[in-house]
Amino acid sequence: MKNELLYTAAFDELQQIVRDMEAGEITVDELSVKVKRAAELIAICKNKLSSTEEDVNLILKELEK
């Protein structure tokens, strides 16, 4: 399921959450849910980045041969 969410979407959602938080548009009631979501998104992005980097490094390594 996680990988199906695109990095861009995850990143955008994450950014929105942070922006909302900054703007105080998040109620305390929502907060822990949102934080949980943010953590999730961060994890998704991180994963995506790592897996992409691995892929790319593999390709690049292949290229430099």
Binding site: F11, L14, Q15, V18, M21, E22, G24, I26, V28, L31, V35, A38, A39, I42, C45, K46, L49, T52, E53, V56, L60, L63, E64
Partner: protein, 462 residues
């Protein structure tokens, strides 16, 4: 006629004349005179007629006499010095004594004749002929004729008894080279008074048939040095000089060339020499012809040899050029294809570098991209707790503020500061309430409950 005339005898007169002449002309004189006639007598004495002419007219005439012994001496001297005998019609320098004979009358006795004067006279005649011919521009006329390449047909003017002729013919006919001559003799006197007219006559005859002849030769032999003065004759020399064929002379003497010889096309000293000259002209023709044959062989061999050399060197040249050309073309092709190779390699190398650069760039960009992206994420991760804390703190502050406010408003806390609440029947007292003086009121303080009765009610301003 007078009476006292004196009569002399002829002898008296003639003797008186002789006496007078002998007295008057005692010595000998040198006299210049033309010897018109020699009048040589068999006795050996000569009685020449001496004249002086002016414009061909006799202006003086006298007889001469030469005694035999004088004549012989004089003639010998002439032959030695002048190379001519005494000849009639010539002017002589005479040593004379005036002689008068009672019987023969006046004569000049010739004691001597100066041969040197005659020599001079001959010379003068010769010079005169030369001058005349020169004046008429005939001197070189015969010599200017074209000499035939082969003087083969010869008209000979000679005497058939002449030794010169036989010498001449012998040389021509006995030539070992088989040269063929065609000769025809035209007889003439070669000596003496007949010489001039006879030669002139024969020349005129030859002229009639000149197309049959190449040259004319005048040949005289054995005559020695004597009697050649006729060849200085103007008429003869003019004829020779103006003759349409070359006239060659061989009149057999070696000194004092005559005018005829001078104006002739060519003069040979002797007939033999003349014949040799003619043979030489045949040689001059024959030798080049003989040599031409040799030359033909030599030169044609040489020519062919040279042409062969040219030809062979051209072939060599051709071979070299063809091979060189091929070689050059090959080198050009190799060079061009090497150039092509190096250009292609350079091009590929350049493209490779460009590609490599693009590759490096793409790797660099990728790496940077990850870095940036990771930083973004990390940023979020770092921001999140702060943002949360701020949010929670703000909320906490809000709650705290409300709490403070509520605490402030709490009646317990108000009473603590000395305030009290007055109630009537459990209700807080205010203006609209129907209370009267005397009603019971309850007062509550922080720690007491007080019951009292109203004594007076009034309103205060605020």
């Amino acid at each position: 006629m007078s009476e006292n005339r004196q009569i002399f005898t002829l002898k008296q007169v003639v003797s008186s004349i002789r006496k007078t002449l002998e007295e008057r002309y005692q010595q000998a004189y040198w006299v210049k005179a033309e010897m018109h006639k020699l009048n040589l007598y068999p006795s050996g004495h000569a009685f020449p007629e001496l004249v002086q002419k002016e414009n061909d007219k006799i202006v003086a005439q006298v007889s001469g006499s030469i005694w035999s012994h004088n004549f012989q001496r004089i003639n010998r001297q002439f032959m030695v010095v002048v190379k001519e005998p005494l000849k009639e019609g010539t002017t002589l320098l005479l040593q004379v004594k005036v002689a008068f004979s009672e019987t023969y009358g006046l004569s000049l006795q010739i004691l001597d004749i100066d041969p040197n004067y005659s020599l001079g006279e001959l010379q003068r005649e010769r010079d005169e002929t030369l001058h005349k011919l020169q004046a008429e521009r005939l001197l070189n006329r015969n010599q200017q004729l074209d000499f035939p390449l082969l003087p083969q047909r010869i008209a000979i003017i000679s005497a058939d008894t002449s030794k010169g002729l036989s010498d001449f013919m012998k040389v021509l006919n006995n030539n070992p080279w088989n040269y063929h001559f065609f000769t025809m003799l035209f007889h003439a006197y070669l000596q003496g008074d007949m010489t001039v007219p006879s030669i002139i006559e024969q020349l005129k005859r030859i002229e009639k048939v000149k197309d049959h002849f190449d040259i004319v030769v005048i040949v005289r032999g054995g005559g020695g040095e004597v009697g050649l003065s006729c060849y200085n004759n103007y008429a003869l020399c003019k004829e020779i000089a103006s003759f349409p064929l070359p006239v060659l002379t061989g009149i057999g003497h070696s000194t004092n060339m005559t005018v005829a010889e001078l104006v002739a096309f060519r003069n040979a000293i002797t007939p033999t020499e003349l014949a040799d000259f003619l043979l030489q002209t045949f040689h001059d023709f024959s030798v080049p012809v003989q040599e031409a044959r040799k030359a033909l062989r030599t030169y044609s061999n040489r020519l062919i040899e040279i042409k062969k050399q040219h030809f062979n060197s051209e072939i060599k040249h051709f071979k070299n050029s063809a091979l060189l050309y091929l070689n050059t073309s090959k080198n050009k092709l190799v060079q061009k294809s090497q150039q092509f190779n190096s250009e292609a390699k350079t091009l590929i190398l350049r493209k490779r570098e460009t590609l490599h650069f693009a590759q490096k760039e793409s790797i660099a960009h990728t790496k940077r991209f990850f870095k940036v992206e990771k930083e973004h994420i990390l940023g979020f991760q770092l921001d999140l707790p702060q943002k949360l804390k701020a949010l929670l703190d703000r909320e906490k502050r809000n709650v705290h503020e409300a709490e403070s406010m509520v605490n402030l408003m709490n009646p317990k806390n108000v009473l603590k500061r000395g305030y009290s609440i007055t109630t009537v029947n459990g209700k807080t007292v205010h203006g609209e309430m129907a209370i009267q003086e005397g009603d019971y009121i309850q007062t509550k303080t922080y720690d007491l409950e007080i019951e009292s009765i109203i004594q007076k009610i009034s309103k205060h301003e605020e």
